[in-house]
Amino acid sequence: MSRLLVRAVSKTFGPTRVLDHIDLDVPDGTAAAVVGASGCGKTTLLRVIAGFEAPETGTVQLGAETVVRHDVCLPPQRRRIGYVAQDGALFPHLSVADNIAYGLHTGWRGLGDRLRRHRDRDRVVELLAMVSLDPGYADRTPHQLSGGQQQRVALARALARKPDLMLLDEPFSALDTGLRATTRQAVADTLRAAGMTSILVTHDQEEALSFAEQVAVMRDGRFTQVGPPEQVYHHPADLFTARFLGDCILLDALCEADVAKSALGAVPVQRDAPTGETTLMLRPEQLTAEVVTAEHSGTVTEVDFRGPDVILTIELAEGAGTVTVRRTGIAAPARGDRVRLTVQGSGTAYEK
């Protein structure tokens, strides 16, 4: 059992409150992502869970063990955690194999085993295979590896001790775009295969949404919303969360009985939505634009080609504002085309 339970954790640095009564529950074997702008406190939360910082109040429970209570704060080496830092933080003076084997024998009792390190060889090779690296890398030094390889070695090193909880502190941010997606996928697969509970801290919303079963959006030391990725993306709790997680279409709407009426017609919204004058939020990919000759709802004013998809900017008829539509680039409408817009799925309404 390695469920992580964070209860009412608060932490201040000088006059700033970095964490403000944070609650988080990560069930055994699942992945959670904490996403927020830089300086919002997400890294501090991770460091509190790891034991690098002590919170002023609150508890942290890992499996059956309470690692942080009001007066007890277990040092990091005695928590069963794995930690992958932003740029891997490989030990520059050790080879890849020695980096991975570092945590296998620690302390005075590990001293004798460290001297007979050839015994760890099988385990090192096994761990390299887990992170999809060739055993030939074992004898290289860290600076002979590319960024993505360093990150994988860092993961293998953290996995070596079979921790209960894996903490990932923006581990992909130093990688370039192509490498980022593949490394992220490889790490997620490895962790899932190992059945490990994990937390990913990132400022990249796409990374958070794709990586985790549970996404927590953080702002100024508080969570604005915690939930499954689809839920937080399509039905954000507030406008900040909505804007943070992706492009939004915002329209004035009159809301009644969980249906919002706007320039795009009637759109179902979330349950127990506010009534009266509201702001309706939709995602650009929810709209489809069909070229028509009559009964158009808007005119295309701009076509922004982005490779796999295009972003259409459409000026609504009767001066009701502009909306953006995301669609595939194949047979897309051209500038000046008149289009009819239809909405797929449901939107989210916010009180004005």
Partner: protein, 501 residues
């Protein structure tokens, strides 16, 4: 082509001292040379010198690493303030420090006294690089080790110390070489080393074979240190991996240990700065206005500034072509030049001076006992120091900028003056300043080579303190320290900025 020629000439010149040792060996004949080397007196000197190195270097390493850790990683009171203060002893020449201690404790002599004074003079040579490295180490690496199950003590031994290895080795090597080369400090403490013995021999029998053979053994000692350091260092090069902003390490709370450890810092600074400054202050007070003989002091100051400025200018100019080749060329020739300079930098001033005396008397007698020869000696001795600065400066000039200048129609030489030189100017200035201070506190080679009538600050100080006129020597000591302070501060700020090992 011109650059290569200049570099070649300079490199050839750096081989003069080594060539001199070898040629004397053959002139004397191997049998007689062996007789001169294998005698009890040499054994005695060897024991003395080795004992000095074996005691002082480890003490300095422990002290330097401990102090650097205290200042950089703990919440010891006044941690921002201690950084420059612990580097300040570098501004006090070792023989002035020795004078301070002998005057305060007249009964000091022998090995223990030599170890104490040498430690107080040289520990910053370990402190400075270790503190700079500690600041630069990525705390995430240490945190990763904590997450992998290591306690703080284990992290220090398994993660921090191995990464400090290059800094420690470099500092230890410098200290060893300084110990071998130092003359004044150990004469005052009546402790015989090879350098003091060579000097004695020179005074009694000029550049005779006995003194030259001692110099040969001394050079062997230096090469042993170089080789040992190279062996221990291996091919290690620990750059910080990856990019991204680095968080500052959290200072460790010392709790009740703060007070005793603060006391240690105070004691060290007291020993390294307090004792010499107190002695100088006391003698200045006792001597009153009488010791400030403005005419004599003014003359010494003028001569010192003249010599130091000339040497600084020439050495920095010489450093440019050598640095250019070292930075821009990957040929074997470039590595040979670097190696040659590395070895010369390890040779004690007395060996270089002795070699120049012998060479000029044999081949160019008119040069003997001239200012030119003194300046040549300084250039040979301090070229490696200037080289380090100039090379770092040149390395930071992107080749792309020069290419842009060429593409805009400038010639190679004009590009050098309009782009490269302009951008290297700060580094060149700091190189010149380093040489200037090194020359103005240089004693050994100056005593040997200076023409009659030369009175530099160091020579005046040495003469007066040798006659036990401690009060008369005090003003010179003060002026030398004051002159060295700005450069020491530059060293300190550079060490904080230095990127890469």
């Amino acid at each position: 082509m011109f650059v290569t020629l200049v570099a070649l000439t300079l490199t050839a010149a750096t081989f003069i001292p080594l060539g001199y040792i070898v040629s004397v060996l053959f002139d004397t004949g191997l049998r007689e040379a062996a007789a001169l080397v294998f005698r009890p007196r040499v054994g005695e000197l060897l024991t003395n010198t080795v004992a000095l190195v074996v005691w002082t270097v480890p003490v300095c390493v422990v002290l330097g690493v401990g102090l650097a850790w205290l200042v950089e990683r703990t919440d010891v009171p006044g941690r921002a303030w201690w950084g420059p203060v612990l580097v300040a002893p570098l501004a006090v020449p070792a023989f002035v420090n020795s004078y301070g201690w002998v005057s305060a404790f007249p009964s000091m002599y022998g090995l223990s006294a030599a170890v104490i004074v040498a430690t107080m003079s040289y520990f910053p040579l370990v402190y400075l690089p270790v503190a700079a490295t500690l600041r630069r180490l990525d705390p995430a690496v240490e945190e990763s080790a904590r997450a992998l199950g290591s306690g703080p003590v284990e992290v220090f031994w398994r993660i921090v110390v191995p990464q400090l290895r290059l800094a420690i080795l470099g500092g230890a090597l410098l200290i060893g070489l300084h110990l071998l080369a130092e003359y004044g400090a150990f004469v005052m403490l009546r402790y015989d080393t090879f350098t003091t013995a060579i000097f004695e021999q020179y005074q009694s029998s000029f550049a005779g074979p006995a003194g030259s053979m001692l110099a040969g053994v001394l050079v062997l000692c230096c090469l042993t240190l170089l080789g040992g350091e190279a062996l221990l260092r291996g091919n290690a090069r620990y750059a910080r991996l990856g990019a991204g902003a680095q968080r500052a390490a959290r200072p460790i709370a010392l709790g009740w240990w703060r007070i005793p450890l603060f006391g240690v810092l105070v004691a060290v600074v007291g020993g390294a700065l307090g004792v010499p400054l107190w002695t100088i202050g006391r003698w200045l007070w006792l001597g009153g206005a009488a010791v400030w003989d403005t005419a004599v002091i003014g003359q010494a100051l003028g001569q010192t500034i003249g010599l130091a400025a000339a040497a600084a200018l020439i050495t920095t100019l010489c450093a440019f072509p050598v640095a250019w080749i070292a930075v821009r060329s990957t040929s074997r020739f470039a590595r040979v030049i670097e190696g040659a300079n590395y070895i010369t930098s390890s040779l004690p001033g007395i060996v270089i001076a002795l070699a120049l005396v012998t060479v000029t008397i044999r081949w160019t007698p008119p040069l003997y006992q001239t200012v030119t020869l003194v300046v040549i000696a300084y250039a040979l001795m301090f070229l490696p120091r200037a080289l380090v600065s100039v090379r770092a400066g040149l390395a930071q000039v992107p080749v792309g900028l020069e290419e842009v200048s060429r593409s805009l129609g400038e010639s190679a030489s004009a590009t050098f003056f309009r782009v490269t030189l302009r951008m290297t100017a700060p580094a060149a200035a700091s190189a010149a300043a380093l040489v200037f201070v090194a020359v103005s506190t240089e004693l050994t080679a100056t005593l040997l080579l200076a023409p009659n009538g030369t009175r530099t600050l160091a020579m005046q100080f040495w003469g007066l303190s040798g006659e036990l006129d401690y009060a008369g020597a005090a003003p010179y000591a003060l002026i030398m320290i004051v002159a060295a302070i700005p450069v020491t501060y530059v060293l300190f700020t550079q060490s904080r900025k230095a990127a890469g090992v």
